[in-house]
């Protein structure tokens, strides 16, 4: 719990990046390969299913984007090897996906169900390969690594009145501690920024970063308006006003304070890895699965997730830490929660103190301590899809 602690025990990879887990990613390259991939992952401890269910009858842009994002799962520093499970006739080019993964430091194998002779043979081969990869990874030793090697995804979901007063401000204090050590934090969820974008833009390190943020907001507003959705028209809602939220700025700030108070150094596309230390903003939907999945694709080794009402979700290859500011949710769903931020609401602990607790726990998770979501085998995954399925 020492906020000045500046190292953790991680795995230093051949490309210089640092992982906090040794996992095999079992990636389905289309929905038709999902069952075989899931059978492989369920039989091998340490093999995790990356459950992509698209890959066919989609726009070229969506297939290209999915290939790029799935390849980043295969090259993720928490991954020591990956299996691409392909049907053989899908639109997504599974060979291209495997080749893109092979550009990273970890081995990858392509298993095509139609070539291998069906589900059982694919599963048998996949299980053997995954076990082999994990066996070879047993030689990996953890070593002291600086916090500056960490990229942390920030998420909130299932929010309630305690989110804006306790868990999100505490996560903001945590973000400031990570940034002070030279680490990277990623704030996301574009739709939740509406109303406070001008405030975050003021914190941009350059006019270009501020401009990219405003353009990102405008693009999403225009895209959603074309579908009949008006993001700004009804904010804050009558329920928000009853709960004490007076303006749209206040509502949005309650969400984006997860990113703390440091300058905004970059604006990232969906799933794009950050290159600059500090706070970046990533363009993602507010949807928790699609947002967390993209921040992990971008290289986040750990995600910290605040939830007032209690969301249990995880991710296949990155530990997800759960923080709640609601005492009742913590008591009710304790097996799914890692950090109780409700002492802030009870007046027994300050925001800064809980921020330090999250920091201390995050470094223990980086050392290898499993999160609640990991202990319960949560491995949710979803990618944004912009075009239709036809």
């Amino acid at each position: 719990m020492n906020p000045t602690q500046n190292t953790f025990q991680g795995y230093r990879r051949q490309d210089g990046r640092v992982g906090v887990r040794n996992l095999v990613a079992v990636i389905s390259s289309c929905g038709c390969a999902l069952h075989a991939a899931s059978m492989i992952a369920s039989q091998v401890d340490g093999a995790m299913l990356v459950s992509y269910d698209g890959g066919c009858s989609q726009t070229e842009a969506d297939v290209r984007a999915a290939t790029r994002l799935l390849a980043r799962y295969g090259r993720h520093p928490n991954v020591i090897g990956s299996l691409v499970i392909s049907l053989g006739c899908e639109t997504l080019n599974a060979s291209t996906l495997a080749e893109e993964i092979a550009q990273g430091p970890a081995p990858t194998e392509l298993l095509v169900i139609q070539q291998l002779g069906g589900t059982r043979r694919t599963v048998e081969k996949g299980v053997a390969l995954a076990r082999q990869m994990l066996q070879q990874a047993e030689g990996w030793q953890r070593e002291p690594c600086p916090v500056s090697e960490l990229t942390i995804g920030l998420e909130c979901g299932g929010s309630d009145a305690t989110s804006g007063m306790a868990s999100n401000p505490a996560l903001g204090a945590f973000s400031d501690l990570i940034v002070a050590q030279g680490g990277k934090v990623i704030l996301s969820e574009t739709s939740e920024l509406f109303g406070a974008e001008h405030i975050l833009a003021r914190r941009a390190t350059t006019p270009e970063v501020a401009q990219r943020l405003m353009e990102t907001m405008r693009d999403v507003e225009v895209f959603l308006k074309a579908t009949g959705e008006d993001l700004m028209g009804k904010q804050p809602t009558p329920g928000n006003v009853l709960g004490g939220i007076s303006t749209v700025e206040e509502k949005a700030l309650g969400d984006i304070l997860k990113g703390g108070t440091t300058p905004l150094v970059d604006v990232l596309a969906y799933g794009e890895p950050p290159t600059r230390p500090g706070l970046s903003f990533m363009d993602t939907p507010g949807n928790d699965l699609a947002s967390v999945s993209a921040m992990v694709a971008a290289g986040s080794q750990i995600v910290v997730f605040t939830t007032g009402r209690g969301n249990p979700m995880g991710n296949p290859i990155a530990p997800v830490i759960k923080v709640t500011g609601n005492a009742q949710t913590y008591a009710n769903m304790q097996e799914d929660m890692d950090i109780d931020a409700s002492p802030i609401v009870a007046g027994r602990e300050t925001i800064a103190q809980v921020g330090e607790r999250i920091y201390g726990f995050c470094l223990r998770v980086a050392d290898g301590v499993p999160t609640a979501a990991e202990q319960l085998d949560h491995a949710e995954f979803a990618l944004v899809r912009l075009g239709p399925i036809y």
């Binding site: 009145a161 700004m232 007076s246 700025e249 309650g254 007046g347 925001i351």
Partner: protein, 94 residues
């Protein structure tokens, strides 16, 4: 007993951690403000109470950032909400 939360050191409002009645003195985890701040009216749980005098047109600060402008002079201990605070970005079309 702590009954209010100042989220950021620069804030000029605090959040009520329970329903406050007129006459209640604010107590925060960091300590009791000096001079004391007394709730001038009922402040429901989760609502905002002014910590300093906020002049008409001045910025109301929560989370260390502007959440809008005061539409009247606000005294310490007064309820800060839609009746005396307006958005800069835009209000809901109702």
């Amino acid at each position: 007993m702590t009954n209010a939360l100042k989220i950021h050191p620069q804030d000029n409002v605090a959040v009520a951690l329970r329903d406050l009645a007129p006459g209640d003195a604010l107590e925060m985890a960091e300590g009791t403000p000096q001079p004391p701040i007394i709730a001038q009216e009922a402040i429901p749980f989760g609502h905002k109470v002014a910590l300093t005098p906020i002049a008409n047109g001045a910025t109301v600060i929560k989370y260390g950032e502007s959440i809008g402008l005061a539409t009247t002079d606000i005294q310490p201990g007064e309820h800060v909400h839609v009746h005396n605070l307006r958005s800069v970005r835009g209000a809901a079309k109702r």
